[in-house]
Amino acid sequence: MIWTVTQALLNGLITTFEIFIFTLALALPFGLILAFGAMSRVKILRYFVQVLVWIIRGTPLMLQLIVMFYGPGMLGLNIWSGDEAGRIAATVVAFSINYACYFSVIFKGGIEGVPAGQREAGEVLGMTKSQIFFRVTLLQMVKRVVPPMSNEIITLVKDTALARTIAAYELTFAGYSFMKSAGLVWPLFYTGVFYLAFVGVLTLLFGYFEKKLSYFR
């Protein structure tokens, strides 16, 4: 029995991992774009980001997921195929928008946290704007955002469980299905082991990054 359950949960873990990795791949660049939008000189752009961040942070992710999955169909736009792939795609899009907003706030703090004197020192040394960004401020920014980003990314691992709401077969759904089919509760408890292992690996990874960046202050 335990082997059957483990296999089923590993299957669910693959979906969990897919949601995690695709969300990260989209939300990181999108979050950076939003951060630049929030700091833009163009007022409309700044307001747009502010309103978006307000809506996304102000409503439950589960609700956003449901709206993302069912909303288009209600408007007659069937963009999500009804199969597993469609469910995962809808989850990834909803999650990416959500996480990009949280990331953007962190990125903005990271960019603004680098003292103005760093940019000025680059300017008086005749550096171009892009040289100042890539050679001077970027790494200082990365160092500042690694700890808060680790937090968010670890939260993302656990938020993937919400995909069950739209019946995507991820880890929690895989565990839960044994309750319905065989009346077993322990497979659901057992999923915790997988989440802990996942987060454990990430924690080691972030610890490594932080250590790598600890050579300067």
Binding site: A121, V124, L125, R135, V136, Q140
Partner: protein, 261 residues
């Protein structure tokens, strides 16, 4: 002929006039000290010369070439602004070293980036970088930092960091080296080592502008002194004369506070 001419510089921040019709000139090989209380506009003046602030009025020229003219459009004078900035070197109050680079890397970074833009760079990359590194090492040696070249800024004392910053500013061989209160962020026991380095530069006839609160130092090292108050130059002249025998009442009051202390 003066190496630097700044004429009728004005700078406003909103409705606050920080600089009101300030003009100054500087001879090659001379050191000019700017003194005055906080908020008198000294630092803003220095920042205008380095184009960290854009004056609302006035002109700035170096070696007869007009670098800035407020009557021109931004587009016109911002042409080659990077090149124009290189006429000036800047040493900041808070050092502003790049924390992720070693002392030597701080000194050589800008020079290497500039070298990359030269047409013959790819062919001679190795030789060019080698020459830049040697130049950087020589500058750090001059600053008494030969044993600190591989240290990161946070591993250095404030005085050492400021000496790295001076080497970094010298690396690009500016026509005029500017110091913005170079010792104000330092513990008293560390100011001496930085002042000694600046004194050495003055002995070698480096053209300098030094914004400072160290009156005795200004008197000794500078050729000329400008006293600023409330955005205008109140008095200027030979360094010893301004400190020892000020003419204007406001200068006397200002200096009295220092000699009392």
């Amino acid at each position: 002929m003066a190496i630097l001419e700044a004429n009728h510089i004005e700078k406003h921040f909103g409705s606050t006039k920080v600089l009101k019709d300030v003009s100054l000139s500087l001879e090659e090989g001379n050191a000019l000290a700017i003194i005055g209380s906080s908020g008198s506009g000294k630092t803003t003046l220095l920042r205008c010369l380095n184009f960290l602030e854009i004056p609302n009025a006035g002109t700035i020229s170096v070696k007869g070439e007009t670098l800035f003219d407020a009557s021109l459009s931004a587009k016109e004078w911002e042409k080659d602004i990077r090149k124009k900035r290189l006429h000036f070197g800047m040493v900041f109050q808070s050092f502003n070293l790049f924390p992720q680079y070693t002392a030597l890397e701080n000194v050589t970074l800008a020079e290497k980036l500039l070298a990359e833009e030269k047409p013959d760079f790819k062919k001679n990359k190795k030789e060019i970088f080698h020459a830049i590194e040697e130049h950087g090492k020589e500058l750090l040696r001059q600053m008494g930092l030969e044993s600190r070249m591989g240290h990161y800024p946070h591993q250095l004392s404030g005085g050492q960091q400021q000496r790295v910053a001076i080497a970094r500013a010298l690396a690009l061989q500016p026509d005029i080296l500017c110091f913005d209160e170079p010792t104000s962020a330092l513990d008293p026991e560390l100011t001496g080592e930085v002042l000694k380095v600046i004194r050495g530069l003055a002995d070698r006839k480096t053209t300098m502008i030094i914004v400072t609160h160290e009156m005795a130092f200004a008197r000794d090292v500078a050729d000329r002194i400008i006293f600023m108050d409330d955005g205008v130059i109140v008095e200027q002249g030979d360094a010893r004369q301004v400190i020892d025998n000020p003419v204007e009442e406001r200068t006397k009051q200002f200096l009295a506070r220092y000699t009392q202390g």
